[in-house]
């Protein structure tokens, strides 16, 4: 497969960490929310996967932009755009929440941080959710402010992340519960730190608002990181598929509804809260979904998924599309995530797929893989 260069410009914004990661050996980027997201450092993707599962990495994930919604009607607006019931949500907690439109189509699958009763951050996946929220608020005449907060996240991921963070920030960091957040002092500033991140290896996300102190914290981690075998890294395709962490635009998109994506526990149809697409979701639920996101295990040793790849049954009937995939060293085969049509979405279903002109066999499985 031929490689192509990325052309930088002001439109594809760099981050406060870009000059650092470019010294630290980044070799490839993707673009996410109009910004550069590192995808590869020197060495193989598989080396980085093993390192992430054994040690600790610091990632530049500034691309997770924060849409801030504050003001009198902010709670009403945030609830209006998600099918997750936030009526009992607490300050200091993160909520994974599907954002849907009036037809129950998925616009984003962000993490929502409740900073105060009338102040929220929506930690975006790759779409301009700010524009949707703003349009809706203008149309409804809501009393809110909506803007991109000046926050650039770096993530500390891996089993040794707790020890590393404790060394730098003290034992209070251990009190943070999963998807909880609190403020921690470093370099004369307070930093919002959440126990979260886009891997299943444990870790933290530092919501950097004070650039100088935040960069000092970034540098401090690398200064003391040797004993934990700290390396610079980035979200790892192999690990995130193995851990079934979904990627908006890859695995799920605006053509899907949250029940097709397996978000049932974040779809609260029985509570009294008002949100867009509620009636449509009730209809979908009563009729049953017609497509479902599933895992696929394929008897192949490599794959590059740059677009949907059709899946067939043994009789050449189209049964769905593979949306992401990679070779997995633990399963010793390719695993991937696919949207599968009814009536094929069951775990005994065999599949056929053509990769670079060659046919391979595989089988569906439930998500998560492990």
């Amino acid at each position: 497969m031929k490689n192509y260069l990325i052309s930088k410009s002001r439109r594809l914004r760099g981050t406060p960490y870009t000059s650092r990661i470019e010294k630290q050996g980044v070799t490839a980027y993707t673009v996410y929310n109009h910004m550069l997201l590192p995808t590869k450092f020197e060495g193989t993707l598989e080396d980085a996967y093993h390192h992430l599962k054994g040690h600790v990495q610091v990632w530049d994930v500034s691309v997770q932009r924060q849409t801030e919604i504050n003001g009198k009607d902010s709670a009403k607006l945030v609830q209006l755009i998600t099918c997750r019931d936030l009526s009992k949500s607490k300050i200091g907690r993160c909520y994974y929440a599907p954002i849907i439109d009036h037809k129950a189509k998925l616009i984003s699958d962000p993490v929502i941080l409740k900073l105060a009763e009338d102040r929220w951050w929506i930690s975006l996946s790759d779409s301009d959710l700010e524009l949707f929220a703003k349009g809706l608020a203008i149309g409804k005449g809501y009393d809110v402010n909506i803007f991109e907060a000046k926050v650039d996240i770096f993530s500390v991921q891996g089993p040794k992340s707790l020890s590393l963070m404790e060394k730098v920030l003290g034992p209070k960091i251990k009190e943070l519960k999963f998807f909880g957040f609190d403020y921690f002092e470093f370099g004369g500033s307070k930093h919002l730190i959440a126990r979260s991140g886009w891997s299943k290896q444990g870790g933290f996300e530092v919501y950097m608002e004070h650039e100088e102190a935040g960069l000092a914290l970034y540098d401090k981690l690398f200064e003391v990181g040797d004993e934990f075998n700290l390396k610079p890294g980035c979200p790892n395709l192999i690990e995130r598929i193995e851990s079934s962490l979904l990627s908006y635009g890859n695995d799920i998109d605006i053509g899907d509804n949250p029940l097709e994506c397996g978000f049932d526990k974040y779809v609260n149809l029985d509570s009294d809260v008002e949100f867009l697409g509620k009636e449509e979701l009730k209809r979908v639920k009563s009729e049953g979904i017609k497509r479902k996101l599933m895992g696929v295990k394929i008897d192949a040793q490599q794959i590059a998924v740059n677009g949907s790849i059709n899946l067939y049954d043994n009789s050449k009937n189209f049964i769905g599309e593979l949306r992401s995939g990679s070779y997995n060293p633990m399963f010793k085969q390719v695993i991937g995530i696919a949207m599968i049509n009814k009536p094929y979405f069951n775990v005994s279903q065999e599949i056929k797929i053509n990769i670079d002109g060659k046919d391979y066999s595989g089988r569906l499985c439930d998500l998560p893989f492990i």
Copy 2:
């Protein structure tokens, strides 16, 4: 300057032409509306610039996605989001139109195509305008349908574009006026073709809705193109800056209002039409703008603008930021586009700029350059 690779995935969609341009020698991409936009083919950017100004090129600009807005309230919604008066707009015409929010901040600078009184395409710059329009329509309770139309544009640009298009589509193509569009038959399908494009060298944009027939037209152009010295190409940084074609996200963004961007002739404050941000624009106009988009000529032989670069006067006062720039063979120096603060925005202003650690001098000028 080190080069970085782009990591492809389903989230950065390819286009119907991707497999063709990759055979035709594309070497670099940017990402625009979540899709791959070619930025460079084999050979230098300067060679491509000279070729574009002398001959004809075909460009894959599928990234110019079409947000279709149709239905009873579609004209009302389209007018609501632009400060350009569309009350006298005609079917079969394209309208360059700043899209702004309630605070008169620029969300997009698309071309709007009026397909029917109740059917519009908005040919997007790089932001999810569909989400803004959808949020607004839901909030207002408008009776409209809003979706991404299945349209993949290729562009035919350069002084020989008319001869090439006439050879393939017949003399009727000559009747198209600048920014007019009509339907032309090829391969058993009708294709919407506009006399437009993102260069000042003349040309056409083919709004491909029928993939098979559209690709046949693409191939036909290359089949007969030799006599016009046809080459595959893409929007050219040197030419588009020289021609002062603005790029949303580069030269202008959500922090700017249309009067600061020099869009005065598309800001219709005296007509009766209702649009978002109208009162704010009246206020800005009466108080006078505090920043202005201008040209800059710099006594340097090369530059790479990957983010804003500060500009200073001779006394080291900050006066504005350079947002895009490139060496220009005609001016034999670097020219670029900058947002300049009051009171510095006048053509006699000298500027200082630091490029890669070295200081250079220059001077502001009005846009367009030529």
